[in-house]
Amino acid sequence: MAKVLVVTSGKGGVGKTTSTAALGAALAQNGESVVVIDFDVGLRNLDLVMGAERRVVFDLINVVHGVAKLQQALIRDKRLENLWLLPASQTRDKDALTDEGVGRIIAELRTKFDWVLCDSPAGIERGAMLAMRYADEAVIVTNPEVSSVRDSDRIIGMLDSKTVKAEQGERVTKHVLITRYDPARAARGEMLSIDDILEILATPLLGIIPESQDVLRASNVGSPVTLNNADSAPARAYFDAARRLMGETVDMIVPTERRGLMNRLLGRRAA
């Protein structure tokens, strides 16, 4: 049974696209067939983070409008044969998406893939609404910071009321993914703790992604962090999160950077 999962947050810049790419790749690395869809019409970036920006021919809007077939718009990842991308349009505006059109495409993708990951745009406008509309599950990406937590709370409210599942009296399965977490600062009381965030949002935790230089390094070269450096702390955290999505029970730990002996002795950070 295919699962449709929206990666959402309300607030911008918290790591939705990074997390979509990393979770999508991690699921594919675990043998699942995955398609990631960019819903950020006009400001597409999932193609860039995945390193497929030069291979975009047709996009989501073209498929919605019947200009292209789904098979023509889907881009297969060069590294993982069971990972696919459906890019957003860079030229059209968000009104070009229709509820009915998105529903039709999601229904078709459900028949072809194990996972359909929808990368939501920021905000609570049409694009964000349509990204969550047909979801079975939601990953709410949250930074340990007041404005992000507030917006996550708002998005949780929308997931419980504006989705097809909610309208049918069912529930979207929700998970919080905490990104850019700094355990040292949290321990010093300078950053909201995991417990604080979970208590406030009253939503189960999918994973804790530590703040790391590896994330920028991966997006620089157009590779999901789980593919670019599978041993890095954020990659291990995303792998754990992906396994939890697949129903496994994985101990919740915050992976830390593995530092070489010389670096440790010299107190240097790995470059």
């Binding site: 007041v146 507030r150 709370d153 909201l192």
Partner: protein, 99 residues
């Protein structure tokens, strides 16, 4: 350990508990409002309807504001009325006196 010692000397207070408390108060309030129709929009519409029965109004000139204070809140209704409103007949046969 060393960090706690540092904090002891630097006399900087942990800010996370403040963040947590502010969020809890704010979200308790916002969750209460969620799903309810926009109170101010409803008030504005109904006030406009009532006054329009007697005075012809430009709907744009009606503002409704709610200021929340610590103990009491104020509802401020500001309606701009044209100068010749006394001569303006709204309903056939009915004149509107000074307000």
């Amino acid at each position: 350990m060393s960090m706690n010692l540092l904090r002891l000397f630097s006399n900087r207070k942990a800010s996370a508990p403040v963040a947590r408390e502010r969020l809890q108060i704010l979200l308790a309030h916002e969750r209460g409002l969620r799903g309810q129709p926009d109170l101010l929009a409803t008030l504005r519409e109904e006030i406009l309807a009532v006054v329009s029965r007697h005075i012809q109004l430009d709907p744009e000139k009606v503002t409704v504001r709610l200021d929340r204070g610590p103990t009491v809140s104020t509802l401020e209704v500001d309606i701009e009325v044209p100068n010749n409103f006394e001569q303006t007949k709204v309903h056939a046969g009915r004149r509107v006196g000074a307000v």
